[in-house]
Amino acid sequence: MSTARLSVLTCAAAALGIVGVCIHAARERAYAATPLRICADPNNLPFSNQARGGFENSIATLVAGELHRPVEYFWWAQRRGFVRNTLNTGDCQLVVGTASGMEMLSTTRPYYKSTYVFLTRHDRNLAIRSFDDPALRTLKVGVQLIGDDFANTPPVHALANRGIVKNVVGFSVYGDYAEPNPPARIVDAVARGDVDVAIVWGPLAGYFAQRAAVPLDVVPVSPRLDLPYLPFVFDIAMGVRRGDSAFRQQLDEIIVRRKPSIDSILIAYGVPLVDIRAQTQRNQ
């Protein structure tokens, strides 16, 4: 408010003289006050939600603080068409979490690396660490299905490659959007005992394991890569519009400078970070 008033006064005073400079200064201030518009899913903890309760919300606040800009959100379910209907319409300018190198947007340097994990009830003592554990042939195994682009979550393919199909239960990653955090149903299924083990992306498993009614074990999968090319560990980056390279560079700098703060946010949300603490996490 006071900044705006000051700029009006300055401009009025300079009206007879250096008009061009004044307009330029006003533009600069307008830009500085322009909110940082975040494209985010309103219903997908631990990543983001409309109450701003996700770790991507916290990271967005941190980034906006570095840029001296307030945060605003453009909400859209992160499904097919997300980038097209958010970033590319101009309604927002930053996707806080996306796979590094994703073709449809321009991604920053990665700010964390996580892994798919085996999620089991602690009281079952299953201790599964590898896709080659024979127990996976007989236990009831939950996986998430995407059903797009001939693609699926990597564990689905890893099991299919080993001929493990009949005892696998598919959960749609989309779930029922009328319920809170629809992808989390697979975690509920483990806690209830509907499936013996679920193979889930780490951040989702880590967060909900901390909050489950019964203690759950979160164990990173191995190997980290199935041949010919099926990784279970992914780099996660921020995404901006293709061509928005100056903004991307700013973000790269913030990611380097604020790495410790970003790490503590992720750790607080139970995100299993590869290369930092890849050891077994347990919620007692």
Binding site: R80, E103, Q144, I146, S172, Y174, Y177, A178, L204, Y229
Partner: protein, 605 residues
């Protein structure tokens, strides 16, 4: 008032066209015309459903516009829909009024054909939920509405089936039949048969379980639901189910042909075309592909996806079923149109369905039994080696099966198939089927990072490109008796519009760069063409106006799966956009721009 005027004009204006009284317009036209026959059932000059008749011929017996004068066609009027996404719907003509429906937000317009310039009588905005756009697979299209017994019936993208009073545009009933929260949308045009409004869902990509529902035409209440997967009781398979082939016989195959519980999210939706044979009292339609797309995780036939069904319209009970593409590998949905005709085959007249199928074959199928009489490729196919007529099996080429992390090149046809939803037409006069289709192959390669709902994975990069010959589209005349092409027109872009053919021996279709063409149905000569404002992916129709003259109408407005690059503003640099279709359509943004517009053509005075 309009109706009285309509009747009056009928009496005064119809000198050359034999015609029934307007009051009998709801009666289905005879579905059992013989190929090459010169006598047609009377045509009331209206166009009350996208496929024209229950047989889905898209044939008009009007002859005022013919091969001798089509070159004189000119624009009579235009009307902007105000929307810029893909316009796939057919205009509908009934009682001196033309009805059109826009893509999302599915606004319905009624235009008065009795007055110059076709002034707007009313419009209706169903106000569908904006979130529905987020779950629609391939542009937010709508394939049309239908007129029956004084009412209009249509579906909205957010899963409502709505009945309007055709005279006033006031809603009569509105039934929510699906749930966008679980990924269901509706894009198909309903069909009304024996007081039932037949509606199916879309959303196989989202793990939706497919269904076809029948709603009571008067109340909107759901009378029956036939699922595309699951136990027999859900699929409405009972004692009278008699599939022709052994492979389709057994109990609860919709469960046992899947890994446990996978059928619950297995696809088999129904977003295409339904036909009806009043004599046999059977409806015919096919189900879409199984989900998920990666076939490794769903060993088995995955019944009843990509299956052609014959059902009783009163109860939904299945009478026969034939799974066209068991265990689909390539997204070859089975929702294309089937044309109900009788053909002389093997020395006798057979009651058949003719189906130009997404997997690349024109199937001729005995509609009383489900027996495949012939299945001939109508373009270059290498994803399979043919169809075994003894067993009904598609002979799949395993060399072209997609594999995670591997590159598989030159899979033909590509995922949209040899032909997608765009409906063909059949002329009993020439005995030929007119097929608008594409000529595309694809490479499938892994290695592309992707991210959905907070979940990273390696996507299969699908890249589509022109098939042999370098043209991406074909408009083809096909003899269903010999199973051979008679003539064809190569089009640079996929032919994603429907078609119509008339007793004047003129066929009409549009191109994705906006040309609307009149073709000599006998030899493929281009008689006339007109460049509309945007690419055409709609369905042309022809009708007799209240003034007694014949007109042709089409909605122009680029979009749909191949046109999403323009209508949805996808990034042409991302070759995997629109599930790989963008790669084949990189030049489209330089050839057309978006915008929905109705064009009406006539000979003028």
């Amino acid at each position: 008032m309009a109706r009285k005027l309509w009747l009056l004009v009928f009496i005064v204006g119809c000198r050359t066209e034999p015609s029934r009284a307007a009051g009998s317009m709801d009666v289905a036209r005879d579905t059992t015309r013989l190929a090459g026959s010169d006598s047609f059932p009377p045509d009331d000059g209206q166009w009350v459903r996208p496929a024209q008749d229950y047989a889905s011929t898209r044939f008009s017996s009007l002859t005022e516009i013919n091969t001798g004068n089509a070159r004189n066609l000119r624009v009579i009027t235009t009307f902007s829909t105000g929307f810029v996404r893909g316009h796939e719907a057919a205009p509908i003509v009934a009682n001196g009024t033309m009805y059109i429906i826009s893509p999302f937000p599915n606004t319905v317009y009624a235009l008065d054909l009795t007055k110059p310039g076709l002034p707007l009588k009313w419009q209706f905005n169903p106000k569908p939920e904006a979130a529905a756009q987020g779950v629609a697979c391939c542009d937010v299209v709508n394939r049309g509405l239908v007129f029956d017994a004084g009412k209009l019936f249509f579906n909205t993208l957010d899963d409502h089936t709505i009945a309007l009073d055709a005279e006033t545009g006031k809603p009569v009933w509105d039934t929510k039949v699906g749930d966008i929260q679980i990924g269901e949308t509706i894009t198909m045009a309903p069909l009304v048969v024996k007081g039932k409004v037949l509606v199916g869902n879309s959303g196989g990509e989202m793990g939706v379980r497919g269904w076809l529902k029948a709603l009571d035409e008067t109340t909107g209440k759901v009378v029956w639901t036939a699922y595309g997967t699951g136990p027999d009781k859900d699929v409405l398979i009972g004692p009278s189910f008699k599939p022709f082939y052994a492979k389709d016989r057994g109990t609860d195959l919709g469960v046992s042909s899947w890994p446990p519980d996978m059928w619950k999210i297995g696809g088999g939706t129904m977003w295409g075309w339904i036909s009806y044979d009043p004599q046999l009292d059977l409806i015919f339609y096919g189900t879409a592909n199984p989900g998920p797309w990666n076939a490794d995780v769903r060993p088995g036939d995955n019944k009843w996806t990509t299956t052609l069904f014959a059902r009783r319209p009163d109860t939904g009970e299945a009478v026969w079923g034939y799974q066209i593409t068991p265990h689909d590998l390539h997204d070859y949905d089975g929702i294309n149109e089937q044309i109900v005709i009788d053909l002389p085959i093997g020395g006798r007249t057979r009651k058949v369905l003719v189906r130009p199928e997404r997997n690349g074959y024109v199937y001729v199928i005995d509609r009383t039994s489900g027996e495949v009489l012939s299945a001939n490729p109508f373009g270059f196919v290498n994803s399979s080696h043919g169809v075994d007529l003894k067993t009904g099996n598609l002979l799949v080429n395993q060399d072209k099966a997609p594999k995670v992390g591997m590159v598989v090149r030159e899979i033909c046809p590509a995922a949209p198939g040899m032909k997608d939803w765009q409906p063909s037409a059949y002329s009993p006069k020439t005995g030929l089927l007119y097929i608008p289709h594409q000529n595309l192959c694809m490479d499938e390669e892994g290695l592309s990072a992707n991210y959905i709902a907070g979940t990273p994975y390696v996507g299969m990069n699908v890249k589509m490109y022109a098939g042999p010959g370098g043209n991406r589209g074909v408009f083809q005349a096909w003899n269903p008796i010999t199973g051979k092409e008679v003539w064809s027109i190569k089009e640079d872009l996929p032919v994603w519009s429907g078609t119509v053919v008339t007793a004047g021996d003129v066929a009409f279709y549009g191109t994705m760069d906006g040309w609307f063409k009149a073709i000599d149905a006998r030899n493929g000569a281009v008689l006339w063409q007109f460049k509309t404002g945007s690419g055409i992916i709609g369905q042309p129709i022809t009708y007799r106006g209240p003034d007694g003259h014949q007109y042709v109408a089409i909605l122009s407005g680029i979009g749909g799966w191949p046109g999403a690059l323009v209508s949805a503003g996808l990034d042409a640099r991302d070759s995997s956009a629109a599930l790989g279709f963008a790669n084949a359509m990189k030049d489209l943004p330089s050839k057309t721009t978006r915008g929905g517009m109705l064009y009406v053509f006539g000979l003028g005075s």
